[in-house]
Symmetry: D2
Subunit: 347 residues, 4 copies
């Protein structure tokens, strides 16, 4: 089969012909219908410092996808060939302390398909059956390809109370935009977004933001404070990983508020812990991956009840071979999800 692989510890990737993966008795083999490109994939493609420390070529990367079960292992009873699926690509160990404490999403021995082992930028991908998620037929097929990042958004929004509360989302990349949609669907009150890119700000409004701000304007924090009667927002959903966005976000947060941090800063971050966290009595949550599988259940329900319109997020669909065009497009920084189609057009 063909697969998009990182062959050497350097920038770039290439289509290779490799054997269809073997699968064990508790695995399934998925024929990939569409794979979506994550920011992480851009890092791997570009070979940044993180990639160099984590990725061991050769590797088929990619971890967002949907597809159809081609084969199931002998002991698999919960799925069968033909099922339309996606998957939780974080494989947890099941026996470390976080796994034992009901927090498998922060497993100490996690292995991520597409990062630590072969992923989905290929015609077929092998996945342990217990990580497969069957997609409800009421959900549009292309939505199924982005349930991994949508799950990040759902995890962030529903990590605390949200209905009837005022919310700031800092950063309107794809996950930030999904976060806007999920917060809106979950009954948040005022919803403010900060984002440097004008196009993304426009998308944020389309996804449901009440007001959007360019964080480079000097009065951004004050304008959000004013818009909340001086109180600040009840909930900060940090999706940018940008240090100044994080700092601005904390200053927008009211005493007693919640800050859920998902964006990944490139370096250490300097915080005014006293005024922004301690004296505020704030609750700060690190958000990683998706709750297994509460997030998947909630996300499925929201999708199948048509609570989320994600259409504005989708951009091109391309055959897998056009990967270079896709990466180039995404590096321009416009938000949006490009679908790679390793097995021809989706219906």
């Amino acid at each position: 089969m063909k697969a998009l692989r990182k062959m050497r510890p350097q920038q770039g990737a290439q289509i290779e012909s490799v054997p269809v993966p073997a699968y064990g008795p508790t695995d399934v083999l998925v024929r990939v219908r569409a794979a979506s490109i994550c920011g992480t994939d851009l890092h791997i493609y570009g070979w940044d410092r993180w990639s160099a420390s984590r990725i061991h070529p050769p590797l088929t990367f990619g971890h967002e996808f949907c597809g159809t079960l081609e084969k199931v292992g002998d002991e698999v009873t919960t799925a069968r060939p033909g099922d339309f699926v996606t998957a939780e690509m974080h494989l947890n160990c099941g026996h470390c302390r976080p796994c034992r404490m009901g927090q498998p999403h922060v497993c100490q021995n996690v292995k991520i398909l597409g990062i630590d082992a072969d992923g989905c930028f290929a015609e077929f991908v092998r996945i342990p059956a217990k990580n497969i998620w069957k997609v409800d037929p009421a959900i549009p097929e292309h939505y199924a390809a982005i349930m991994d990042p949508l799950g990040n958004a759902v995890h962030s929004v529903l990590a605390g109370e949200i209905a009837g509360l005022n919310v700031a989302v800092t950063g309107a990349g794809p996950i930030g935009l999904m976060t806007v949609a999920v917060a809106r669907a979950s009954g948040c009150a005022s919803l403010f977004v900060t984002e440097v890119n004008a196009h993304r700000r426009q998308l944020a409004k389309e996804m449901g933001a009440d007001q959007v701000f360019d964080p480079q304007q000097p009065d951004t924090v004050n304008r959000v404070l004013e818009a909340t009667g001086g109180d600040g927002v009840d909930v900060l959903l940090e999706m940018s990983g940008n240090p100044s966005a994080i700092q601005q976000g904390f200053r927008m947060l009211r005493p007693g508020g919640r800050a859920s941090l998902l964006g990944i800063p490139k370096d250490v971050v300097t915080l005014d812990l006293v005024n922004d966290v301690i004296f505020k009595g704030a609750t700060v949550q690190g958000i990683y991956g998706r709750r297994m599988f509460e997030t998947w259940v909630q996300m499925t329900e929201l999708l199948k009840h048509q609570k989320l319109n994600l259409e504005p997020l989708f951009r091109e669909r391309m055959p897998l071979e056009k990967f270079a065009d896709a990466f180039t497009l995404l590096e321009t920084g416009q938000a949006g999800k490009i679908l790679l189609l390793p097995n021809g057009a989706m219906k």
Copy 2:
């Protein structure tokens, strides 16, 4: 001023002329614009067993209203004449153990205006300033008259997770119907309602229910189970107080689910605790009043952001003197809120 008063320990009530209430330095005096009739008022009017044990005539009853501040006490700094307000009519003591534990809504020494002291079925009502709630100008005025029962609904729905979850509401009286609207606004997934009255079932659909059921049909529980793929609902919101509705509701609840009970049974209730609570690992919550004042904040935000369409709930508006017609109408059992207008028409 004129007031609708229960003068004797028996059925009925009458308009009396009484002095405008005196108010202390920390009180306010409200000119009542509209007062709404609660099921509790029907009990007081009809003089049931509960009323006979709790109410000490003479009493001006009524505890749902909106109005304008006429006067404020000398020490009141948080409100001023002309403010458009409603109020939390449960006065908590501030020093019992529940009050000390952050649960003033279940104060052991609670005094309820309209039940334990004079209420709002009058031209004026006196209320401690700390219980006054200023109504945001974005909220329709007549909605402000029913924030007390709407608060019951908000308290019930937001007492646990709701977004992305399947919900059953048992009982579609006024609070049940509001509960439907609030659950819908808060991102619930499937929403099922059981209600014996066909008119109310129709209203439940208008308020946002996906499916409505007559609980007297023998297969009601099974139909809800089927509609959830055999799982049962994640959340039961019990609004009827009817023993068989409570029992049905528990049978609809999935293992690990939440049951929030607000409806008030007339007598003790027999429960299959083993199968419906213990083996299910269910969480059952008694819901009383409104969280002070989290519920009021959340409710205000939902209303001012137009998340709740309550229009189907409103019925007649009548001058206070027509109270007998109002009570007669309500005793027919059709859901809906009647507004009494002690000071002439609302704008």
Copy 3:
């Protein structure tokens, strides 16, 4: 090997010679060092209505034990022969909605070893490796045989806040007594126990109760209320399953309190829902099994740090063949755990 088996749908059980269980690639085979008798085993032995509906003879029963790994399946990497272990005997399916929602302890398809499949009243027992719990060497060996019921107690106590709170435990059978020890170790304030059996009341005091009451005395509820300054307890831990104990317990509970129900009533229970749950704003929790595996982690830590003295609970140790004597002793109703030794004396 020898095994204690229920051979027919009737009272009694007998020692049989059966093959050592076969084990699969993800199973382990445990040589049982000590097995403890649960109240459930008494029901199976006596063949009550529940047993008749659930148990399918022939069956090796028993589900509380400790032992040494004799063999491990080919794919088992987390344990090896010689490990000293016990196990979570509730096997969850992993794919039902409660399992997916992080609540595997209320799995809709649970299979319990010793009830739905062969258990531990035998020289050897086969168990899936993922359900094995390695016992910390700092924990006394005989304690390891009762971690299943101790886990019930830990699950009940730690299902909500406990430190600095006043607690009532209704019922001082073995799990009730363990509950006393766990609540004490977790920093509860006053600890009251109700129990009809004088010997058990004495044991409750030894385990750490401040005051014990005979619930048949008419003033029991009032005495607990008085002992809490009229407030009632913050937490009710119901361990009896007795309807009048449950009713008494609820009357002892303060408004806003928590009631965790583990005891299993034989029949439906009549509750004053209005006064005991709804107006109180109480939180009622059904407690079943043990959280997988939070409870096991917490229990292990409490045991290995010597926070729990369970010695008063232990009674005779007997060879497996003396099972009839053991069941007879336990049926007298004195609390205490009897250990059956299928493989000779424990060291």
Copy 4:
């Protein structure tokens, strides 16, 4: 009466003769039996940057104390002369959003007696009756003088689960030492303390720490990790405000753990948010003041049930006039509470 007052915006303070405070109808007047010196008082005395920005001389400072009610205002019904009391010295406004959301401890308009208005370093102090806390007679009188900082410790420890969990306390000043005692009383498992001062490390052991570490040793984090089998602690209680202690603490924390931050850094702090919070899925809580009044209830129960031995914390008792000696002693950095006695010796 005599009072210790900051008269000018500079280092130092002096005894002044001032009128006994007037009190209003909802206030009480307390005869101070003992006042304890807080680190904040050292800052005010020494006149650091924070003091210069917040304190407006002349001011009687001091906010930790116990005393006897001398007079009560006309409208005060919950206390009477002779009552032995202490007080919550943070006066919340009752109407800002945090107050309305059940979080008065982070009131946006808080006024602190002893900082923003006259405090307790005097013969008498005036306090609103609703902030008075009656001290249970089972509690040693001198303990009552330090319930304010003890409340900080109780708030920190009980802000999440603690029983059966491994804990690190960073910083063993007075509040850190109290934190050790409270965590121990609440059933924590292993308890590690880091502290640069050898004397304080010794005190930490006396208060119940299992192991103490000098954080200046290069392998401190690794030693804690090793002591937890490589997992890291479940709970970090940060009591130092020292940036490197905060950083160390986060590195000791396991994925999915809780970090409660009370210590006040002098400046901004640089954090490895990605590895220490986000990828860990950690929950970080700012801790400020005491929950009103849950913390007071829990603290009272722990004290009156003799769960906390605080004796090692107490040092000298001095007449108020000897304040300069007291401040000098405390500035040496040895942990311990000095009691100032404005009205002669305590019994």
